[in-house]
């Protein structure tokens, strides 16, 4: 049997702004143990016996970042592949596209296990038991969904009414009264968004219930640009093809209509960390019921969730608040209104406010850069380059750059010259000079770049060569 874990990594998690952002969405949030939710999802899959490959469906702008996350934890070198979407088209498109890839590469009877990228599962043993049962049902031709035994009368989740492994019906997010009834009943489970099926079963069901999505995604996979190397496969979907795929969830498109459904009820310590108080509860409260991470000084403060990854948060005389601080934004929200943080995110996106999209630190294929300050005619960045990585061979029309190496060694191409710049040495790149920065060493290169010029936009870049295929792209 071939088992393909399929991680769906889409969606921003806007209720977790200002940590979640368009280009740093919820799966990339790191927890106290240093692992991101995405890494936890990867490891959850990696530990399953008989796993053949981990396939991830995500936005193409998140590829290098996702790959970085995986490389950190993929110690047993499990083959990974990526279906890279130009934009989000909901779960039916993602799963249909994945089913074409899996069918082609691994055959019709390969088992696909669809996992979410941004949830927590505490009990790996129970999870593995549930997956074994799901695989058994999938092998028998079922579309299996994992149903979570409710821990509270949640009104924010969809429910599945079940009788053993039989699905009686799907229920939309219920009002509180119904949710309370479901909670006390034994027959209702939360719809977790995790599925297991044979690739062929999914293709048959798509054919039956939404043949347009099946056909359009088949076309996408056939037209996709595929690259392979170092155990990594990239399938880059074309935007012109992908825009023809109808936007629908797999629940609406297939699951709620199919007569092949089965459910595996499970109690696996699942949580979706859907909001800041959910995030807060991952750490122990203090004596006043406050969940605190980062530098904080609280005075007569109760039942608050406090998180800072940069600088001090002080509170006086407040109850039931969420206070989140990043280098460039602060969020203060009453706990009863935490669902509304998504409105803040939406409004910032509408205004194209930087803080909806990027953090001060931006991840690139070769490493990261952090804007430390922008002033009139100058900009200062800390640049970190991974061992062996290179920025593109590039040129700027309007800015010159001073580079000072503060850790590691840089190999610098400046015009016709190639030379090394060691820790505590510097060099200067005039405007209009072709240049390239490489880390030839075995440890991280950390460099301070001081840009000078009349125009310092990121778009003043001409790329001549790039290891990451970005010569024609914007970034």
């Amino acid at each position: 049997m071939k088992l393909i874990a399929t991680i769906l990594c889409g969606g921003v998690g806007s209720r977790l702004w200002p940590i979640s952002r368009a280009l740093h969405p919820k799966p990339f949030i790191r927890l106290k143990d240093g692992q991101s939710l995405l890494q936890k999802a990867f490891l959850r899959a990696a530990q399953l016996s008989g796993l053949t490959e981990i396939l991830t469906v995500t936005n193409r702008d998140l590829f290098f970042k996702t790959e970085d996350e995986f490389r950190e934890v993929n110690l047993s070198k499990i083959p990974t592949s990526f279906i890279l979407e130009p934009f989000g088209r909901n779960t039916a498109a993602a799963i249909a596209t994945a089913s074409h890839y899996v069918t082609t590469k691994h055959g019709h009877d390969a088992i696909m296990l669809v996992l979410t990228a941004d949830h927590l599962i505490d009990d790996q043993g129970a999870f593995q038991d549930a997956i074994s049962k799901a695989i058994e049902l999938a092998t028998a031709g079922k579309l299996v969904t994992l149903g979570i035994k409710p821990k509270s009368p949640e009104t924010g989740y969809g429910y599945i009414e079940a009788d053993g492994n039989n699905v009686l019906r799907f229920v939309e997010k219920p009002p509180l009264k119904e949710a309370q009834e479901y909670f006390t009943s034994d027959q209702f489970l939360w719809n977790s968004g995790m599925f297991c099926f044979m690739a062929d079963t999914m293709q048959q069901q798509l054919e039956q219930h939404c043949p347009d999505i099946l056909a359009a995604t088949k076309n996408c996979i056939e037209q996709a640009l595929t690259t392979e190397g170092l155990g990594i496969t990239q399938i880059i979907l074309d935007a012109n093809e992908f825009k023809n795929v109808r936007d629908n969830s797999i629940d609406y498109a297939v699951m709620e209509k199919s007569n092949r459904m089965a459910v595996v009820p499970c109690d696996i310590g699942w949580s979706d960390i859907g909001s800041w108080s959910g995030f807060g509860k991952l750490s122990e409260p203090d004596a006043e019921g406050n969940h605190v991470q980062g530098d904080a000084l609280l005075h007569t403060t109760r039942n608050c969730t406090i998180y800072s990854n940069d600088g001090l948060i002080s509170t006086v005389g407040v109850d039931n608040l969420i206070v989140i601080k990043t280098p460039d934004a602060v969020l203060v929200v009453d706990k009863s209104r935490e669902q509304d943080v998504k409105h803040i995110y939406a409004e910032l996106a509408a205004r194209d406010h930087t803080s909806h999209k990027l953090h001060c630190t931006v991840h690139c294929p070769w490493g990261t850069y952090t804007v430390l300050e922008e002033g009139k005619n100058f900009k200062i960045k800390r640049i970190e380059v991974k061992p062996g990585a290179s920025l593109s061979l590039q040129m700027h029309h309007h800015r010159s750059e001073h580079w000072i190496v503060v850790s590691g060694t840089a190999e610098v191409t400046n015009g016709e010259q190639v030379f090394y710049v060691k820790t505590n040495e510097s060099t200067y790149i005039p405007a209009m000079h072709k240049h390239r920065l490489t880390n030839p060493g075995l440890i991280k290169l950390v460099m301070i770049e001081v840009q000078s010029g009349d125009y310092l936009g990121e778009d003043d870049i001409v790329r001549f060569k790039d290891n990451y295929g970005r010569c024609k792209q914007e970034n």
Copy 2:
């Protein structure tokens, strides 16, 4: 007649943390019009007819910063002098010391007008009328206090019961019930902390009611180091002498005991901006009653005071909160508890947390530096040097420095060499090299400094020459 305005610039204003800090106290807070409270106090004095000199009593660590503030607004080149205390010793010590200086320099019959450095007075015309009346009474040998007609039943101020210009009694901060009675009565005034008297009258009254303070401060003035130049006099008090002066307020030490008291009732648009909601009220509220300064996005938010000087503040579903953001600290406080912000300040001071003392930008006699980032073995600063100013000739044992000029021109001494570094040029100062940075130009010099080394503390500095007498000091 000689009229000496005497500005008392002491006290932190800890209820306005995180903007107010030990080395950036309340008088230095800038309002929306770009002027600091201290500059407003200076201009208030400067506009009085017949003014001879403006004398400021402040902490010696605030001298250069205070002088910078004054230079910006002292367009008519009024002579200024500074009594520089090594530490605070309350108002009796400050006024007694000032009276010795004034008596010696301007004679026994010089009139002293004592003003606060951190209050607002909206009605300059009414203020000048009140001062004219006060001078008249002072000339007749009275100790005159300015009494503010109450605008509300304040429990946080002391009161004066008056009959015309006659003081009947001083009243300590009253309970609400009494405050309400005082408010409806015509006889009660707020004690403003502004006074007017002949230097000789004050000396006689000090001799009568607290001769020890008079004698100890006389000794301080006699032992002080005095320097003069460019119309500026500095009287630097010796710490060993000054510590012998008893700590007492002028109200307790003299005013409440003297039979020479008079009061000038006035209605001058006075406010003390004693807290964040007071500060907020200086700007117009939005339709929901929020006072907002800086980048903010409010959602279902009412009656809040929001202030950011760096980055975005977002709020959802909150009422009656104060949210203040600086580059390194956030304060969130319920308005009903805003007096307790002083506890946060006290706790931060007890922990020696940087944010109680300094902002990221630190003012020096030659300009400012701003710490942009500190990492392992490196620190990055933006350094701004005023035209004509020089840092000390100095050396570091443990760090080397890269300097990149991003605006203006630097004159650099590096070992035996002296040379110029222009905009977009750089230079390198190795550890153990004597060096000096000067701005020889007419515009501000802005430079990025990247320090490298195993130890990067500000105390790794050996000063050989300094224009500001800091060769033996710590800073």
